[in-house]
């Protein structure tokens, strides 16, 4: 008996790529990257988008993801790219996908891909951290101590074991709001992406280390933007902008 080979189906080629910015909000901030992957694949099918597949016994949809925010962190700026077998209007893709995803996983922008260096354009992230029941003065003090430190070594468990690294150096901008907003003290940070990215958790660990900041309730973190970093103003730009130009 001959062994079975992958079926000789014609694999429809990718004729158009769409880059999408989406948010992860509210209670769905607890979804993991894998949870989002499954949700997106199903939403694409529900929306009837002509997604391209890889060849072989177990074909995979052509979707690629840019580094996603950690589980438990909300985001206004996650990016994903999908390959289609027939062209679609990006605006319509945005609307259709947004309708097919559950509320809280919201599609905010979609452009046709015209450039290739997207991953490199994600140079930095702008984070907002809300601290319920924390005094803004205490937070500002912690912020200043962290900012003044030359380096703050923190530890994190990674796939390759416990790693020690500097959480201070990639933080290029850090601001504590002078007043509480909605019962929370607020910290904003712009962090450059480096090989072992410094995450909001690491910044929190660093604040605990330099200033004994122990929030009574777990802080809520949101990624507000990720994209190119303006070296003069430390503003984080729109990574989809180059695709929008004709």
């Amino acid at each position: 008996m001959a062994s079975r080979r992958p079926p000789d189906r014609d694999v429809a080629p990718v004729v158009q790529r769409i880059r999408i910015r989406h948010a992860r909000r509210g209670r769905l901030r607890f979804s993991s990257h894998r949870d989002f992957q499954r949700a997106l694949e199903r939403a694409i099918r529900r929306a009837g988008l002509p997604i391209a597949f890889s060849a072989g016994f177990s074909p995979h949809p052509k979707i690629s993801y840019a580094g996603s925010a950690p589980t438990g962190v909300a985001s206004e700026a996650e990016y994903v790219e999908i390959g289609l077998t027939s062209p679609r209007d990006p605006g319509q893709v945005q609307v259709a996908l947004d309708a097919a995803l559950p509320p809280g996983l919201d599609v905010l922008d979609a452009v046709e891909v015209r450039t290739s260096d997207f991953a490199q354009r994600l140079e930095a992230s702008w984070w907002r951290i809300e601290f319920p029941e924390v005094d803004p003065v205490a937070l500002a003090g912690a912020r200043d101590a962290f900012w003044a430190a030359g380096s703050v070594e923190v530890e994190r468990r990674t796939k390759s074991g416990l790693r020690r690294f500097d959480a201070r150096e990639p933080v290029v901008w850090l601001d504590a709001h002078p007043e509480q907003v909605g019962g929370c003290a607020i910290l904003e940070a712009v962090v450059r992406h480096v090989t072992l990215s410094v995450r909001p958790d690491d910044v929190l660990a660093a604040l605990r280390q330099v200033a004994d900041l122990e929030p009574p309730v777990p802080p809520r973190v949101t990624r507000l933007a990720q994209g190119p970093l303006d070296p003069a103003t430390y503003a984080v730009g729109d990574p989809l902008a180059p695709d929008r130009r004709d």
Binding site: R4, G26, S31, R38, R42, P132
Partner: protein, 670 residues
């Protein structure tokens, strides 16, 4: 058990009594999410607690008059795909004035955090407190969910004993297969529903609606009386059980003239009229079944004597081929799932399964949608079906269930498969490119000897031998999975002695040696089994009476949770609880498990009517001991089990005359 120390140390119930304000001053029906949210940062897989799935429903609290919390007493990953809960969730929410939300068991890490922060057991839809609802419906697929029910009630601030509940406490309603003998949980539940839930939940809702509308006359007692008077809703508190000095039950008596002596099961007669689920939930969290399921029929008439599911879900009621196609199409559009499962107890037995499989396979061939048909029938037709459904896909494993190792054993259990059938079937499978055959057997069946089980080894060797011959390859495999047999209520084996766990384990060891020691075939055969201990606890809970309730409560207070999970299950904990709870009684664990019952003994579930005639069950038990098989009543004349007679119905099978699916073709991305 990881959590046990923490809980015992803190004294789980001591903490509870301090949980004075679970509601934290909020109005009834308010969301508790903001209080839960900070706890989620510190627990495993928090996504399972947040809800927000595609097709989830959250209604305004005030829009409804009757409010249900539907609970599955296991983790979200197991409970979310459960068909029963999903169907009832839709059926109830479709009603204007009824609201239904879902709740699942929380893992011990969150339980501990919730106790510390006084956060109540919640629904994942509106994060409303369970104690705010009118009804809590709990679906028990197995008895091993009982301790999780107690945790949930306790976290909700609901007294675990029904007798301690007041007018404002929700009614606790148990359903699912285990509810066919709810006696072990009789002290903890208010109502049990036997059989299909669709009509039953509407019946209950109607009675609750009316009673509330009238201003709740007569209090909780009157409501329970109204439910009991239907004759199809069992209210344990309205029955008294008395015992003989030797421990057997003397009688079970209704305590009020209007309460019926026996309670009937619910049977949905026309599946096509109940076309659910229409919009299945799409969980964000990973679950045990990542697919859209359609139930192609209910019931099973094969009459395997060990099979409670087959016995209590009679008669067979098929969904039509068009009904199936409609659910599949609508469900895929609503969910975007990439797999469809054609579910039933024995899916290859649908009278039109060949056409259903072929049509669905044609229809979805190019849409990256796969079809699965969980079936373990041992015949060539089943292999043909599997081939049809795996067109173009990988042919990895195919499962068959001869259940009994020897010809004699298979006659005892009424599984009519010969060794020849099995070899012919697996040969066909290996010939069509399947590389891996899985065989399912049971150990501990009535009258079984070591030899019956050892024959599993010879069977598996024959399978490999035949497979190597037909495929000309040496890399084919066979996995043998063994489940421990637990005698269940409402089956011919309800009177049987359960095999003790020591003998079960010894028998399995002999089987293992017989397979491992074979140089020619041993390496091609995999063996999977569990030790016999969990089966004893399951057996105690399955055939127990009201006295077993104390064991459950004692085990739970000592930390028993998630008993279906081997990493959480503690046999010693359960035995210690039984020792404690049965002290001063004439009964013990062996009495409930390994003891054979006599014809005249009153069984704890005799007053609960599954439709099966008890004289017929006893005869079938005697036939089993005489190694006499009976036919499947789907295809050959009836053998009088009593179900059809009682329901005034007959087996409902095709043909409908419809062979093609009257629907357009589907392509990916259309």
């Amino acid at each position: 058990m990881i959590y046990a120390d923490a809980l015992i140390g803190a004294g789980p119930l001591a903490t509870l009594e301090c949980m004075t304000d679970l509601r934290a001053g909020r109005p009834i029906g308010a969301s508790h999410f903001d209080r839960l949210e900070p706890l989620l940062a510190h627990v495993a897989k928090p996504i399972q607690y947040v809800g927000g799935e595609v097709n989830a429903v959250t209604k305004e609290w005030d829009s409804a008059e009757v409010r249900w919390a539907l609970m599955y007493p296991d983790a979200y990953e197991v409970g979310a795909p459960n068909q029963g809960i999903q169907i009832l969730y839709e059926v109830l929410n479709e009603q204007q004035d009824i609201l239904a939300e879902r709740s699942y068991a929380v893992w011990p890490d969150l339980e501990e955090a919730m106790r510390a922060a006084a956060v109540p057991q919640f629904t994942v839809d509106g994060h409303r407190a369970l104690g705010d609802f009118d009804l809590i419906g709990i679906s028990f697929a197995t008895e091993l969910g009982y301790t999780n029910m107690l945790t949930a009630l306790d976290l909700a601030g609901i007294p675990v004993h029904a007798k301690d509940r007041d007018l404002d406490t929700p009614l606790v309603v148990a359903g699912g297969h285990a509810a066919f003998n709810p006696e072990p949980i009789a002290d903890f539940i208010d109502v049990a529903v036997l059989g299909d839930g669709e009509e039953a939940v509407l019946l209950i809702s109607g009675i609750v609606r009316q009673w509330k509308g009238e201003g709740r006359p007569g209090g909780r007692h009157e409501l329970l009386m109204r439910l009991a008077r239907t004759g199809s809703l069992y209210v344990p508190a309205l029955y008294e059980v008395t015992y003989l000095v030797d421990g057997r039950i003397q009688r079970v008596v209704p305590m009020h003239p209007e309460v019926p002596w026996r309670v009937a099961k619910h049977t949905l007669m026309d599946l096509d009229e109940w076309s659910y689920p229409k919009a299945p939930l799409v969980p964000l969290a990973e679950t045990v079944h990542e697919r859209m399921s359609v139930e192609i029929f209910r019931g099973c008439t094969r009459g395997c004597r060990f099979c409670q599911a087959g016995m209590i879900t009679r008669p067979v009621r098929e969904r039509s081929i068009t009904g199936v196609a409609e659910i599949v199409q609508r469900g895929l559009e609503a969910t975007g799932f990439e797999e469809v499962g054609l579910l039933s107890l024995s899916s290859a037995d649908h009278s039109e399964i060949g056409d259903i499989a072929k049509n669905l396979a044609d229809r979805y061939e190019d849409s990256q949608t796969s079809l699965s048909l969980p079936s373990t029938r041992v015949d060539a037709f089943n292999v043909d079906l599997a081939n049809e459904l795996s067109r173009g896909g990988r042919r990895s494993g195919l499962t068959f269930a001869p259940e009994g190792g020897s010809e004699r054993m298979r006659k005892v259990i009424n599984k009519q498969v010969t060794e020849e059938d099995l070899i012919r079937t697996v040969t066909t499978a290996y010939a069509s490119g399947w590389r891996h055959v899985k065989l399912y057997f049971m150990c501990g069946l009535p009258t079984e000897t070591d030899d019956d089980v050892l024959q599993i080894a010879s069977l598996a060797k024959e399978v490999i031998k035949a497979g190597r011959e037909i495929s000309g390859r040496r890399d084919i495999k066979c996995t043998v999975s063994i489940g421990g047999f637990v005698p269940k209520p409402h089956t011919p084996f309800q009177w049987a002695s359960q095999l003790d766990h020591e003998t079960t384990d010894a028998r399995l060891m002999k089987l293992k040696d017989a397979i491992r020691s074979d140089r020619e075939y041993g390496k091609a055969i995999g063996l999977r089994y569990h030790d016999g201990k969990p089966g004893i606890v399951e057996g105690l809970l399955s055939r127990g009476d009201r006295r077993v309730g104390r064991v459950i409560e004692t085990a739970w207070r000592a930390g028993a949770r998630f008993d279906g999970w081997s990493e959480h299950f503690s046999f010693d904990g359960w035995m210690a609880a039984a020792e404690d709870a049965f002290s001063g009684e004439v009964v013990d664990v062996d009495w409930f498990t390994t003891r054979e019952r006599e014809r005249t003994e009153v069984l704890p579930w005799d007053h609960l009517d599954s439709g099966l005639d008890s004289a017929w069950l006893w005869e079938d038990w005697q036939d089993a001991l005489d190694e006499v098989a009976v036919d499947d009543c789907r295809w050959t004349p009836c053998f009088d089990c009593g179900v059809c007679d009682q329901l005034g119905t007959e087996i409902q099978v095709g043909p409908t005359g419809v062979t093609t699916l009257p629907m357009p073709e589907v392509r990916a991305g259309g």
